[in-house]
Amino acid sequence: MSLLTLEAAAGGNAISELLGGIAPEGTPTWAIWLGAAGAAVGLLVAFVSLVAMFSVWLERKVSAHIQCRYGPMYVGGWHGWAQTLADGVKLLLKEDMIPLGADKPLFVLAPALVLGAIFGALVALPLAPGFFFADVNMGLFLILAFSSLTTIGVVMAGWASNSKWSLYGAMREAAQVVAYEVPLGVSLFVPLMVAGTFSLTEASAAQSGWFGMHWFIFQNPFMLPAFIIFFIAALAETKRAPFDLPEAESELVAGFMTEYSGIRWSFFFMEEYAAMFLMSAVGAVFFFGGYHSPLTAMFPDEATSGLLYQLVCAGTLIFKSFVGVFVMMWLRWTLPRLRIDQVMSMGYKYLTPLALACVLGAAIWETIFA
């Protein structure tokens, strides 16, 4: 299936079929297609917002417990679960401020571009065998491409703000992401060699054996180092501590988002949490079995098309992703920030050669033993 067949672009057959059913006779197909695409975008926005809301609450709780505090406890009753909701309302009500010296069109465009890029990347993520926005052949490749687009948005924000802190943050972001994109992509070659496909759906499906534990990470000895390299590079790619130099609040105020406030600022935040979720999900799909676990393996074959199975699969993948997100938070509240030269030398001198060595080793291993 091509990437841009109509059904795929319109967010799966279900939505366009539903719309086609209720639309009056004679509605042009492109109108149904656009309507379905709009509905799919709405779903994506809702998904990203929910992920970001939960992640912000989780981050507050994790950071609090690491520092022997409780974190939010009051809003909403149970452990302050509605704190992020209240904050979202507050951010929406804030005054929309654009600095006088800013490059206005670029200043406005940057947060939208950053968030839009992450929506584009999430399109290729299948939560369950029958639960995805588009079954993209080039899934992994597409995710990497779109997450590199967010860099342009961050650089745009930094430059358009017309502030030295923002510009420094943007420069660091550009340098950092260009350096870490190579180990990120190369470390993923190792599971790709076993999977033989870029599609996340097919890669997940290939790991269903051994009672749902036929995970790529157990396939050869080069998987674990490749995963560690992938995880470090993903931290740098998502601008998370110890690689949060683009914002570095103790040196650059807030880096590229110094001049932003209100809902525009929250776009950057949503992107950060969505990117963390996405990178953890990619790690889960290509190293830790995707949506397969012993739980999903218990279903008999004839039940695998049912809704319950799909929900269990989606739950499994979301749980695995949030384990990754939790580890990222744990690292943020534990490790001190690196210096920019340390970041650069780590990316170029250590991670890139190590990732290449892993690929070479895995290639030899796969030729001999597989």
Binding site: P28, A145, S148, V155, M171, A175
Partner: protein
């Protein structure tokens, strides 16, 4: 920017984009809309690139061109090429261009209308000349005769490494890139003489 031509230019771009989208929708449905959108992105991005006086804005507008071209590849069924276009041109090359350009001062020199019109006339002339040479001699393949896009990674790999295929250009490109990488590191390498403090003598 208090430029009198700024608003008419962007208004014209917007109108042309809407026209392209409408034309696409009426002639080829959803695919037509996509084609109109990607065409508008490609052409609009490149026009803004030469139009804007701020060199950083020009660089940012290139993103529209690159993504538009990627979209056109997508419509042709070349998924891998489309995604590679975004990954390499937008994620890599554009980031590098911006990295260099961001540090340059904003260039707000007067835009001469004569120069813009001259450039436009040259461009249209070139397009017309190439068009007149190509029209009638080339038969364009339609979507139904194109091969199914490949779904497997190994097919792409085989295409690159097959001795009948592209193994020589592929290896040559790899070698050139490696040489360039090593050369860049060699040039940027800190020499021993740079490490000594030039003011050390003064202090002594």
């Amino acid at each position: 920017m208090d430029d009198k031509l700024q608003k008419p230019f962007y208004a014209l771009l917007g109108v042309v984009t809407l026209g392209l989208l409408g034309w696409g929708a009426s002639s080829a449905g959803a695919q037509g809309v996509a084609f109109g959108l990607f065409t508008a992105l490609t052409l609009g991005g490149s026009l803004i690139c030469v139009w804007e006086r701020s060199v950083v804005r020009s660089a940012f507008s290139l993103m529209g061109t690159f993504t538009g071209v990627a979209g056109l590849f997508l419509l042709l069924g070349a998924d891998f090429l489309a995604v590679a276009q975004i990954l390499i041109y937008v994620g890599g090359i554009l980031a590098l261009i911006l990295f260099g350009v961001m540090l340059s001062p904003p260039d707000l020199a007067e835009r001469k209308l004569s120069r813009v019109l001259g450039g436009l006339a040259l461009m249209l002339g070139a397009v017309a000349w190439v068009g007149s040479k190509v029209a009638g001699t080339v038969t364009w393949a339609t979507a139904d005769v194109l091969p199914e896009p490949s779904t497997k990674v190994d097919e792409i790999g085989v295409g690159f490494l097959d001795p009948e295929g592209y193994v020589v250009p592929f290896e040559l490109a790899a070698m050139i890139l490696t040489v360039a990488l090593v050369a860049a590191v060699y040039i940027a390498r800190r020499k021993a003489s740079d490490l000594t403090d030039p003011r050390a003598e003064e202090r002594a």
